[in-house]
C-alpha cells in the first residue's frame, strides 16, 4: 500500500506491505538505521521518534497509521551543518550515553519531554523517562543531560 511520510523534512512516498511497522519503514525502506529495535513488547523505547510533535514508539504502530505524518528521527535532530541539537550536545557533555544503543530513543524522548514539560523537576524527569530503558548508564548522567539540555533549549527558544 502507498504510505506518504515526511521524514526529517523530506517527503517519502513508500509502497509497503500493509503489516509494515513504522520502525521497519524507517530502518529498512528509508535506511534510517539510527532508530533502533531493542525489544518486541514496546517497552525499551530505543525506537522512539517524534511524530507530529509527540514522541512515539515506532515499533508500536504501523507505517500505515503514520500516513501523512511529519516525523523526526535522530538523524534529523542536528542542524544541516552538523551542529548538534542542544539535547544531543548535553548528552555528550554529561556523558549521558555509553554503548549508544538506547541513545537515539532516549534523546528523542528527552526532546519531547522538554517541549511538553519545560520546567520538569528531577523527579518528573525520572518519571517521564519511564518508557526508555538504558542498561549502561544507571540513568544518572541521562537525567543530568536532560536538565542541561532543557536549560539550553529554553535559552535558545
Amino acid at each position: 500500500m502507498q504510505v506518504h511520510l515526511t521524514v526529517n523534512g523530506i517527503k517519502a512516498d513508500l509502497d509497503l506491505p500493509p503489516n509494515t511497522l513504522l520502525v521497519q519503514a524507517l530502518r529498512e525502506h528509508l535506511q534510517l538505521t539510527g532508530t533502533h529495535v531493542g525489544c518486541d513488547t514496546a517497552q525499551c523505547g530505543a525506537c522512539t521518534v517524534i511524530l507530529n510533535g509527540h514522541a512515539v514508539k515506532s515499533c508500536n504502530m504501523l507505517a500505515a497509521q503514520a500516513d501523512g505524518a511529519d516525523i523526526t528521527t535522530i538523524e534529523g535532530l542536528a542542524q544541516a551543518d552538523g551542529t548538534l541539537h542542544p539535547m544531543q550536545a548535553a548528552f555528550k557533555d554529561c556523558h549521558g550515553l555509553q554503548c549508544g544503543f538506547c541513545t537515539p530513543g532516549m534523546v528523542m524522548s528527552a526532546v519531547d519531554l522538554c517541549r511538553h514539560t519545560p520546567n520538569a523537576s528531577e523527579e518528573q524527569i525520572r518519571a517521564l523517562l519511564d518508557g526508555n530503558i538504558c542498561r549502561c548508564t544507571g540513568y544518572q548522567n541521562i537525567v543530568r543531560a536532560v536538565q542541561q539540555g532543557a536549560a539550553a533549549m529554553a535559552a535558545g527558544a
Binding site: P17, R27, L32, T33, G34, T35, H36, V37, G38, C39, D40, T41, Q43, C44, A46, T73, I74, E75, L77, A78, G82, L84, Q88, F91, K92, D93, H95, L97, Q98, C99, G100, F101, C102, T103, P104, V107, E122, E123, I125, R126, A127, L129, D130, N132, I133, C134, R135, C136, T137, G138, Y139, Q140, N141, I142, V143
Partner: protein
C-alpha cells in the same frame, strides 16, 4: 615509564568528552543489524518449546517448499561436519577427575535440553519468509521430565549421558583440616543460607550476526555483536569448523552493550558462517528480545551455605562455604570458571581471615546456559561474604562498620588462604570516606524521620574486593584455562605525527576510543584528537583477547603502553641522529626530544616525518617507519576494592522498597578519565540494585518454561528506580602494571547487591525478619513482614 610518572602526564585524570559520541548521538553508529550486505538472505532459528525432550522426527519438507526459502538446516545437516561449541576452562574435581564435558551441538542432535535450544535454521530471501517457514517446520517431540532448580538437579532426569546424576564437577579450594580445626575452637559461629538469583543480562542491543562468504577468495566474514572477535574466530575456526584462521575475518562493529553475554561463541554465529558457504550468500540474523531472553547466556544462580568462625571479639578465624552452582543445560564458553576460579578465590574479601575453605558442586539443569555476567563470580562471592559479615556484626553486637574495620587486611602484599595475592589497597580509607559521603552519622535521625512517616529505614554496608585484569596466562593455564589471557596493542605513528592505535580490547560502551587516546596523547605529547583507536576487527587488529573482567585498561592499555615504550625508544634514536647526539642523552618531554643539558630539541612530529622520509636517517642501523606492536601478559590480577553504603526506606503496608541514598567509594588505582569511570560505576550500581530489588529470572519449576521472558515480565531498572548516587575515590595505584590502574567496569555490580539487602534486613530485623533473599520485590518484602508478624504472634 613508571606508573607514578604516567599519572602526572597531561590528559591523565581529565574528563575528556568522548570521541565516539557524535556518531551515536546522530544515529550514525553502525551496529550489526544496521549492516546490510549485497544479496543477503535472512535466517530464523526454530527453537525448542520444551525444556527437555527427545526429538522423534523433524519434517522440513513443507517449510522448504515455501516461497523464498533457500534451505532449512537441521542437526542432521551439521552432524559430522563440525564440532560442538567448546568450553574454554577445564575444571578438575576434588577426586582428580576432569569435569563432565558433554557435547554442545550447533543444532540439536536427537534431544533438546532447554526452552530455546536450537533445532533448525531456516534461510530465506526475506525475514518474513524465513519466519513463516520456521513455523512450518514440523518437529515431533517426546517430552521428558525437566529439572530447573539446582537443588533438584541430583534427583532429576539426566540431561547428558556423560553426567547421569547431572553433576558436572566438585571443586574445592582452601585447607579443610585447618578450617575445621579453627571452627572447633571458635567462640561463636555465624551461619547463613542464601540464594544468588539468576539474572538475564539484557544488553539493549539484541545479539545479531551476519555470516558472509566469497567464492572468489574463499574467505569468510562474520559480523557479530561480540566482545572479543579474535577469541570468537579462534574458537570457531580451530574447535568447531576446522577452517584456517587467516580465511576468516570477524568484525564486531558498534556493539550495544555486552555485560558478559557477548563474550561467548554461540551456535547461531557458527551456523550463519558455515551456511554462508553452503548457500554462497550472506545470511543475517538478529535476535528478537524474546529470543535473547531464552538463548543469551544467563548469570549467577547459586545456592549457598556459609559459616564464619569468630573469637569472642568478632575477629574472623575461619570461613566455610558450600555452593551449588547451576550451569544450565550446556557448558557455555567460560561457564565452568565462574563459580570456581572467579568465585572461590575471592571469598577472603577484604578480611584477614586466616582460613577459608570452599566447596562447589556444579550441576546441569534444563535451563539456558549460565556464564559470566557483569562481575562473573565476584558478585556471587561478595554477596555471600558481605551478607555473612553484616550478620556476624549483628550476632556479635557490633555495627556493620565495626565488624569490618576489626577484620580488614592492612598489610600488603597480602597472601589470602584462597590463592590470590593482593598487591595493594587501603580498605580503612574507603570505608572512612564512604561513611563521610553517606553521612552515616546522621542515619539514626533519618530513621526517626522515616518512622514518623510510618516507614522503615535501614542502612547496609558492603566492602567488596574483586580480581580484574585477567590474568597471568601461566597461572590461568595451571588453573585450567584453555586460552592465553594477554592483550595486544599496535601503535602506528603516521608521517604527519598523528597516530592510529589498534587494540585487542573491544569497546561496547566503555569509551576506549577516548580513554586509550588519552593514554597515547599523554605519552607522545600530542592532542587527544590526533589519536584514532581501532578495535573489533580481526582484519585490522593484530590479535586480541577482548573485553571482559574489567581488563581493557589494565591489560589492553598496558599493551599500548609497551608499544609506546618501543615507539619512544626508536624515536629517540631518530632524534639523536637528527641532533647528532647519543641516544642515551635524549630525553622525551612533553612531545619534544631534547639533548639533555642543552637547548637542542626536535618535536615529535619532525621525528615522525623523518621516520617516513628518511633522507637524513641512520639507514644502516635503523629501519624506517614508526609502527610498533606489543603483547602484554600481566604478572598478577589487579584488585579494585571499595565500600558501598545503601539506605533504603520501606513502606510496611505495601512492601515497596526505595533506595533513598547510595554511596560508593572505590579504589581503581590510577584513573585516566574520571567521567567515564563514574559512568561505569553508575551503570554497575544500577545493575546491582536491579538484582537486589527487582530483576529475577524465573523458570517454572516443573515444566522448565521461562516465565520471565520479556520486558513485561522481567523487571528492568528504570530512571525512577534510583536516587543520585554519591561517588568517591581512593587511589592506591596497582603495583604491577605500567598505568597503575585496576579496572572499574564491574565494581558497581559486585559491591551493590549486599549493600542493598543488608539495608533491607537492617530495616526489617526489628520486626523479626532474620533473612531475606533477592530480589526484594514489594510482594516478597510484604510476605516476609507478614510471616514475621505471624511468627511473633504464635
Amino acid at each position: 615509564m613508571g606508573a607514578s610518572d604516567f599519572a602526572g602526564l597531561p590528559h591523565i585524570g581529565e574528563a575528556v568528552r568522548r570521541k565516539e559520541d557524535y556518531r551515536f548521538l546522530t544515529g550514525a553508529g553502525q551496529y550489526t543489524d544496521d549492516i546490510n550486505l549485497a544479496h543477503q538472505r535472512h535466517a530464523v532459528f526454530v527453537r525448542s518449546p520444551h525444556a527437555h525432550a527427545a526429538i522423534k522426527s523433524i519434517d522440513t519438507s513443507r517449510a522448504a517448499a515455501m516461497p523464498g526459502v533457500a534451505r532449512v538446516f537441521t542437526g542432521q545437516d551439521v552432524e559430522g561436519k563440525m564440532g560442538g561449541l567448546p568450553c574454554g576452562w577445564l575444571i578438575t574435581s576434588t577426586d582428580g577427575t576432569p569435569m563432565k564435558e558433554p557435547p554442545h551441538p550447533i543444532l540439536a542432535q536427537g534431544k533438546v535440553r532447554y526452552v530455546g535450544d536450537h533445532v533448525a535454521m531456516v534461510v530465506a530471501d526475506t525475514l518474513e519468509q524465513a519466519k513463516n517457514a520456521a513455523e512450518a517446520v514440523e518437529v515431533e517431540y517426546d517430552v521428558l521430565p525437566a529439572v530447573v532448580d539446582v537443588r533438584d538437579a541430583a534427583k532429576g532426569s539426566a540431561l547428558h549421558e556423560v553426567a547421569p546424576d547431572n553433576h558436572c564437577y566438585k571443586w574445592a579450594l582452601g585447607d579443610k583440616a585447618q578450617t575445621d580445626a579453627a571452627f572447633a575452637n571458635a567462640a561463636h559461629v555465624t551461619r547463613l543460607d542464601l540464594v544468588n538469583n539468576r539474572l538475564i543480562p539484557n544488553a539493549l542491543e539484541p545479539r545479531a550476526a551476519i555470516g558472509a562468504y566469497s567464492r572468489a577468495t574463499d574467505e569468510y566474514t562474520l559480523y557479530v555483536a561480540n566482545q572479543n572477535p579474535h577469541v570468537e574466530r579462534l574458537l570457531m575456526t580451530a574447535f568447531v569448523l576446522g577452517l584456517p584462521e587467516h580465511k576468516v575475518r570477524v568484525i564486531a562493529p558498534d556493539v550495544g552493550g555486552g555485560f558478559g553475554s557477548k563474550i561467548y561463541l554461540y551456535a547461531e554465529d557458527v551456523c550463519l558462517t558455515w551456511a554462508a558457504r553452503q548457500l554462497n550468500c550472506a545470511i543475517k540474523w538478529t535476535a528478537e528480545r524474546s529470543e535473547s531472553f531464552l538463548s543469551d547466556a544467563h548469570g549467577r544462580d547459586h545456592v549457598s551455605h556459609a559459616e564464619m568462625a569468630m573469637d569472642k571479639d568478632g575477629k574472623f578465624l575461619a570461613m566455610r562455604v558450600h555452593t551449588d552452582a547451576n550451569l544450565g543445560a550446556y557448558l557455555s564458553t567460560f561457564s565452568t570458571a565462574i563459580p570456581t576460579i572467579l568465585y572461590g578465590t575471592l571469598l577472603a574479601g577484604q578480611y584477614a581471615t586466616p582460613q577459608v575453605y570452599v566447596e562447589v558442586d556444579a550441576w546441569f539443569t534444563n535451563t539456558a546456559p549460565v556464564d559470566a555476567y557483569r562481575g562473573a563470580g565476584r558478585p556471587e562471592a561478595t554477596y555471600l561474604l558481605e551478607r555473612l559479615v553484616s550478620r556476624c556484626g549483628w550476632d556479635m553486637g557490633l555495627s556493620q562498620a565495626e565488624i569490618r574495620r576489626r577484620n580488614f587486611i592492612t598489610q600488603f602484599p597480602y597472601q589470602t588462604p584462597v590463592a590470590l595475592q593482593y598487591d595493594i589497597g587501603d580498605y580503612h580509607a574507603c570505608i572512612d570516606q564512604a561513611e563521610q559521603l553517606s553521612e552515616a552519622a546522621g542515619f539514626a535521625a533519618r530513621r526517626q524521620a522515616s518512622e514518623a512517616k510510618g516507614l522503615l529505614r535501614g542502612i547496609g554496608y558492603s566492602s567488596y574486593i574483586e580480581a580484574c585484569g585477567l590474568a597471568p596466562s601461566n597461572i590461568a593455564g595451571a588453573l585450567g584455562a584453555r586460552a592465553g589471557l594477554f592483550e595486544c596493542g599496535e601503535v602506528r605513528v603516521h608521517p604527519t605525527g598523528s597516530v592510529t592505535v589498534f587494540t585487542g580490547s573491544h569497546s561496547h560502551g566503555q569509551g576506549h576510543e577516548t580513554t586509550f587516546a588519552q593514554v597515547v596523547a599523554a605519552r607522545l605529547g600530542i592532542e587527544v584528537d590526533a589519536v584514532e583507536v581501532v578495535h573489533g576487527d580481526t582484519g585490522r587488529v593484530p590479535f586480541g583477547m577482548g573485553t571482559y573482567g574489567s581488563r581493557s585498561l589494565s591489560v589492553g592499555g598496558a599493551a599500548i603502553m609497551k608499544a609506546l615504550d618501543k615507539i619512544e625508544a626508536k624515536a629517540k634514536k631518530i632524534a639523536a641522529h637528527l641532533m647528532e647526539a647519543s641516544d642515551a642523552d635524549i630525553d622525551f618531554v612533553k612531545g619534544e626530544f631534547i639533548v639533555r643539558g642543552t637547548d637542542k630539541k626536535v618535536p615529535f612530529g619532525q621525528v615522525a616525518l623523518t621516520a617516513y622520509v628518511p633522507h637524513n636517517y641512520p639507514l644502516e642501523t635503523l629501519e624506517p617507519g614508526l609502527n610498533e606492536t606489543a603483547f602484554y601478559d600481566p604478572t598478577n590480577f589487579t584488585y579494585p576494592a571499595g565500600t558501598y553504603i545503601c539506605e533504603v526506606e520501606i513502606d510496611p503496608a505495601t512492601g515497596v522498597t526505595r533506595v533513598d541514598r547510595f554511596t560508593a567509594v572505590d579504589d581503581f588505582g590510577t584513573i585516566i578519565n574520571p567521567m567515564i569511570v563514574e559512568g561505569q560505576v553508575h551503570g554497575g550500581i544500577a545493575q546491582g540494585i536491579g538484582q537486589a530489588l527487582m530483576e529475577n529470572c524465573v523458570y517454572d519449576r516443573d515444566s522448565g518454561q521461562l516465565l520471565s521472558g520479556s520486558f513485561m515480565d522481567y523487571t528492568m531498572p528504570r530512571a525512577d528506580d534510583f536516587p543520585q548516587f554519591r561517588l568517591g575515590h581512593v587511589c592506591t595505584p596497582c603495583t604491577h602494571n605500567p598505568l597503575g590502574s585496576k579496572g572499574c567496569g564491574e565494581a558497581g555490580a559486585i559491591g551493590s547487591p549486599p549493600a542493598v539487602i543488608n539495608a533491607v534486613l537492617d530495616a526489617l530485623r526489628p520486626l523479626g525478619v532474620q533473612d531475606f533473599d533477592m530480589p526484594a520485590t514489594p510482594h516478597r518484602v510484604w510476605e516476609a513482614l507478614q510471616s514475621a508478624r505471624k511468627a511473633a504472634q504464635a
